[in-house]
């Protein structure tokens, strides 16, 4: 990947394409879980990679590339929502509809919908934590916020998710 990065900086289109293929899942998933819209998420992921192409020379290493992509994708998602809708209050979140069983194949989709309806910062923190499996300090770096704010956002978001799921399923995941 280090070679691909160096080659891409020198203008090698094939090397840049391999970078896109390597990271497209991560960037697209961040946008998709945040926006819950495949078409919109693909457009946003495409914008992120175009932005990367314009800023390739500022990327210092594969690790920096990963961090940069997460950060730019996260901020683009938040910027997109800010231009669209007012801030959601966690207590006003819609509850998933219908009864559900343990290991319900629809549970994942319900959870995704519920996550996608969280307030923007809490949503992003949950996605970075569970999709990217980042530690609190890494989430704080990507989101450019204090680590304690990240922790409180996550705790509150999980409490809300747990409450909404409990009301829907009757059985609370601990």
């Amino acid at each position: 990947m280090e070679n691909a990065l160096a080659q891409a900086v020198r203008g090698d289109a094939g090397a840049f394409e391999s970078i896109v293929r390597e990271h497209q899942g991560m960037v697209f998933s961040l946008a998709y879980h945040f926006l819950h819209d495949r078409a919109l998420a693909e457009d946003m992921a495409q914008e992120v990679f175009l932005h990367l192409f314009r800023n390739l020379r500022s990327i210092q290493s594969p690790e920096h590339l990963m961090f940069w992509l997460r950060k730019v994708a996260s901020h683009r998602c938040i910027d997109h929502l800010r231009g669209q809708q007012p801030q959601t209050n966690m207590d006003d979140l819609p509850e998933p509809a219908g009864p559900t069983r343990e290991h319900d194949p629809l549970l994942e989709e319900r959870l995704r919908r519920l996550v996608a309806s969280l307030p923007e910062r809490a949503r992003l923190a949950v996605i970075l934590r569970y999709q990217e499996e980042l530690e609190y300090h890494e989430i704080a770096e990507v989101m450019e916020m204090p680590i304690n704010t990240v922790k409180s956002n996550l705790q509150r978001a999980l409490a809300v998710l747990r409450g909404k799921l409990a009301r829907c399923m009757g059985d609370v995941p601990a």
Binding site: A13, E42, V115, V126, Q131, E133, L161
Partner: protein, 122 residues
Amino acid sequence: MNPLDHELKNALRRQEPSADFARRVMAGLQSEPAPRSGWITVIRNLFRFPALRWAMTAALCALLIVGVLAYRRHQQAVAQGEMARAKVMLALHIASSKLNVALRGVRRADGPKKVQDAQRSE
């Protein structure tokens, strides 16, 4: 890991975009100018290669050592110059004192002779 954590990890696992995503990104790049390589990038890129990184580090160290030696040599030359200047000043000072003493002696010897010449003319 509690059940909710587990469910969230499953629900939020990475997904791939449509198959032609990378191709569309590359098509979008056609209208983009190629990234420019500034001189800072060129230098940074040089440091990406480990062998070159070590060579550059060794060269920088050598340059630093040569610089320090040259500076010390310059400082020594300046100190020697200052010492030579002080010696010249001391020599001039001594010569000046001796000349003053000699001049006073000459004036003292000349003084009575001038008085006798004046009486004789009267």
